[in-house]
Symmetry: C2
Subunit: 120 residues, 2 copies
Amino acid sequence: MKSFDITTVKFNDQGLVPVISQDAETQEVLMLAWMNAQSLQETLETGRMTFWSRSRQAFWRKGESSGHVQTLVEMRIDCDRDCLLALVEQVGPACHTNRRSCFYTAIRDGQEVELSQPEA
Amino acid sequence: MKSFDITTVKFNDQGLVPVISQDAETQEVLMLAWMNAQSLQETLETGRMTFWSRSRQAFWRKGESSGHVQTLVEMRIDCDRDCLLALVEQVGPACHTNRRSCFYTAIRDGQEVELSQPEA
């Protein structure tokens, strides 16, 4: 075993790394978002999934305004150290469209098929 | 239902979109790689997962040299249209280290823990 050193994560030229959030219980892939070193540090310290919003150029503490909090169960890193997989507990929908997962559109025979509806 | 139009995918400034490969049967997340428009088109047409290798700057037909082919079961796109989730059938290990998944390292209490060993 070795200590995890955040400087060994390969952030891209914008200082960001993609993070896949997967439901720890159902294994459903919920979303992909981005973290910089500071938001990764905060996530590991607090257990609250904290991303970097590329559109707002600001920290994005998931669920801070919506209440749809995402709690870290386990963080994993890939072989190239340039992508993270977070197993999480998700309160309510992960997607801003109010669906559980952001990946609700399938491409079947050249057509787009909606797999889920917004939660009431 | 509407037709899927590849030009509506939001490729980044390098013309790439991240693609999560998930085992369609076990739901294990296997890897994350990148596609450009042409490799996405080829993937949808052939059912063989075809990425764009950023290191080699070339098409990467998964399994072409290793035999560890990845076959598309269903392609999904997220709400922002800037990330894809591919449900796949994976022959053998997905990772170049010969492990089933690239995400074999967990971060637990500040330590790195290896979750799986290379397949024999």
